[in-house]
């Protein structure tokens, strides 16, 4: 899987590369408008991460030209400008997603995977992991082929873990994913109790202990 990161801040691009490389992606970095434009035109990537404010031009123009020549390209905009106009314009121009800085790397990873999954497995949307099989289309979760009932938030939580297997996901990232901006500040008791419930439901259906708390930082999902 090849991912192109068009980002002028070197350290941010490096962090993304480091995280994604561990996920098994091949990452290419480029830091200005011209190179970004050129690379997106010349090569094919599974996903392109595009910053809007770039030296030499606007990322949205790269997007426009890219969508003209390769309408199927998967693009996620990452921008410091939390502006609705940019977001609407970006999505209208054909971007798949929009992420505002600062973002959690686990969130970026989850979004990249979702975008790529939507492109590559248009027919069957199934994530499998060990004894778990999730049908994304019907929002069905099966363990050992037995369907289990999860609430909406528990389901979202499980998907988030499945997309970030074997990585420590911070509770802040989970809170933002599940609660959004307005409610994610303050206490984490909602997160704790949802993780507890999800864990209980998984164990009751015969799955091993997948979710492990890592000190106070967050959680790691994976097989022992």
């Amino acid at each position: 899987m090849r991912v192109l990161v068009v980002e002028d801040e070197y350290e941010i691009a490096q962090s993304i590369k480091e995280y994604l490389t561990k996920e098994g992606y091949t990452c290419e970095l480029t830091s200005n408008y011209l190179n970004g434009d050129e690379k997106t035109q010349l090569s094919d990537y599974d996903c392109i991460l595009l910053d809007i404010t770039l030296p030499g031009g606007n990322g949205l123009d790269i997007l426009k030209q890219l969508k003209y020549s390769k309408p199927d390209a998967a693009v996620i905009i990452i921008s410091a400008r939390n502006s609705l106009n940019d977001k609407v314009t970006g999505l209208e121009l054909g971007a798949d997603d929009y992420l505002t800085k600062p973002f959690h790397l686990s969130e970026l990873n989850a979004r990249i995977k979702s975008v790529i999954r939507r492109r590559n497995f248009a027919g069957s949307d199934i994530i499998s992991f060990d004894k778990i099989a999730v049908d994304l289309k019907g929002s069905l979760v099966k363990i050992n082929d037995k369907e289990i009932n999860l609430t909406k938030k528990e389901y979202e939580l499980l998907i988030y873990f499945l997309l970030n297997q074997n990585r420590i996901v911070t509770k802040e990232a989970i809170a933002e994913r599940l609660l959004g901006e307005e409610l994610s500040g303050g206490s984490f008791d909602f997160i704790y109790s949802h993780i507890k419930n999800l864990r209980k439901k998984l164990m009751e259906s015969g799955a091993p202990e997948y979710i492990r708390a890592v000190y106070g930082m967050g959680y790691k999902f994976g097989k022992e």
């Binding site: 801040e9 350290e11 941010i12 962090s15 993304i16 480091e18 995280y19 561990k22 410091a80 400008r81 939390n82 502006s83 609705l84 505002t100 800085k101 600062p102 973002f103 959690h104 790397l105 686990s106 609430t151 909406k152 938030k153 990585r167 420590i168 911070t170 802040e172 609660l179 959004g180 901006e181 307005e182 409610l183 994610s184 500040g185 303050g186 206490s187 909602f190 109790s193 949802h194 890592v214 000190y215 106070g216 930082m217 967050g218």
Partner: protein
């Protein structure tokens, strides 16, 4: 009260005693003039009477010839001293007492001694007072009329530039921007005032604008290092070799970075609302938006055992979609965060009003502090203290009125659209 009305009133207040004193003076001088005039005439008549007696050797039979009432009585004994004095006589025709000047003197016809009294009527006090009051009242009324005409005229011409300036100052809104042009007039004081106000408002506007720009730029600049810190910390925690003490510190650093970035986002949002960067406006169905929001937080309210009651009458609000979303989100988020375990939330819409009530312990903040930035009842709660400030900023921008009330263990926030 208008300045010019007040000056007119002062003028009237000064004029009244002047008129009164003038009236009294006038009254006394008229009286003394008529008296001395009467005295003079009486002395003249005395001479004529004495001349007649000298010529004819007898008193005149027809006293009318002398114009005034002349009375002769035979006087015996002591010689008569000449006396000039005031007296009053009863006028039987007019049935009233009238003032007279009276001259008493003695006259001899050779064999007889007479006492002669000549009466001369004076102007009646009543008549005089009347006449004076009347003329004073008429001239006073004319003066007042002229003053009013002058006032209206002055405020229309002389003070017009001043009132123009006042109007411009009243409509000056620093947040809305735009230059106020204070025009020149023919009066130098007003020109000085206008020039000072011009430079003052220009300075205010430019300072305000640069402050806002600075806030926005600073927030943007802060995003990048925040992203770097956060991503580096997230990479570090993936490492297998960390010990417990290190993870504890990294966890604290992560929490602070998250808080900082939230703070930064909120400040940026406040600045953008203030700068009116949310220009799109639509009529939005508030009741549907609330339904959607409550659905989103359903699991959270269930988790906290909150009972949510709604009375949602359809209503449309003219607002920017993003901002209305934030407004509703913040208010509902607040009602959840500051609630009691097993408490209630009540949301009512209708007749251009949104009411959100929730059970909760009383806040230590005063109602007016509640909407201020960085004010929070419990500083260690992890809340930024900007949620309601953002609500207030949105309401101020669109002219909505937001109120807070606490009664019967229930927080109640009302937004009047």
């Amino acid at each position: 009260m208008k300045l010019i009305t007040r000056t007119t009133l002062y003028f009237v207040a000064i004029t009244l005693p002047v008129f009164a004193v003038g009236g009294i003076l006038f009254y006394h001088s008229v009286r003394s003039v008529t008296r001395s005039d009467a005295d003079e005439k009486l002395v003249n008549e005395e001479k004529r009477v004495l001349g007649y007696i000298k010529a004819h050797g007898d008193i005149p039979r027809n006293s009318i010839a002398f114009g005034d009432t002349v009375a002769f009585t035979i006087a015996a004994g002591a010689p008569i001293t000449k006396v000039l004095k005031d007296t009053i006589l009863y006028n039987s025709q007019e049935k009233e007492i009238e003032p007279y000047r009276m001259l008493v003197f003695g006259a001899n016809t050779g064999n007889k001694s007479f006492r002669v009294i000549i009466f001369k009527p004076l102007i009646e006090t009543d008549d005089l007072t009347h006449a004076i009051l009347k003329s004073l009242a008429i001239s006073g009324a004319i003066l007042l009329l002229l003053l009013i005409v002058l006032e209206v005229g002055m405020s229309k011409t002389l003070w017009k530039p001043f009132y123009d300036t006042l109007e411009k100052l009243k409509s000056f809104n620093i947040a809305k921007g735009g230059r106020q042009n204070f025009t020149k007039s023919g009066i130098s004081e007003f020109n000085v005032l206008n020039a000072s106000l011009q430079s003052l408002t220009d300075k205010l506007s430019s300072d305000y604008k640069s402050l806002r720009e600075f806030t926005e730029n600073a927030s943007h600049e802060i995003q990048t290092p925040l992203t770097i810190i956060q991503s580096k910390l997230e990479l570090i925690i993936q490492s297998e070799t960390l010990n417990r003490g290190q993870t504890g510190n990294i966890q604290l650093a992560l929490e602070s970075v998250t808080r900082l970035s939230k703070l930064n986002n909120a400040l940026l949002l406040l600045t953008k609302i203030g700068n009116r960067q949310f220009t799109e406006e639509n009529y939005l169905a508030l009741d549907l938006l609330i339904k959607e929001k409550l659905e989103q937080v359903k699991e959270i309210t269930e988790h906290r055992n909150l009972t949510v009651q709604t009375h949602l009458n359809p209503m449309k609000v003219k607002c920017n979609p993003t901002l209305l979303d934030i407004l509703v989100g913040n208010l509902i988020g607040n009602a959840i965060k500051h609630n009691l375990q097993g408490g209630n939330i009540e949301v009512v819409t209708g007749s251009d009003k949104l009411i959100i009530k929730n059970t909760g312990t009383p806040t230590s903040l005063k109602p007016e502090e509640l909407f201020a930035r960085f004010k929070r009842a419990n500083p260690s709660s992890g809340s930024l203290g900007l949620g309601l400030a953002i609500v207030k900023e949105i309401c101020d921008t669109y002219g909505f009125k937001v109120n807070y009330d606490y009664r019967d263990l229930t927080h109640c926030i009302t937004v009047n659209f």
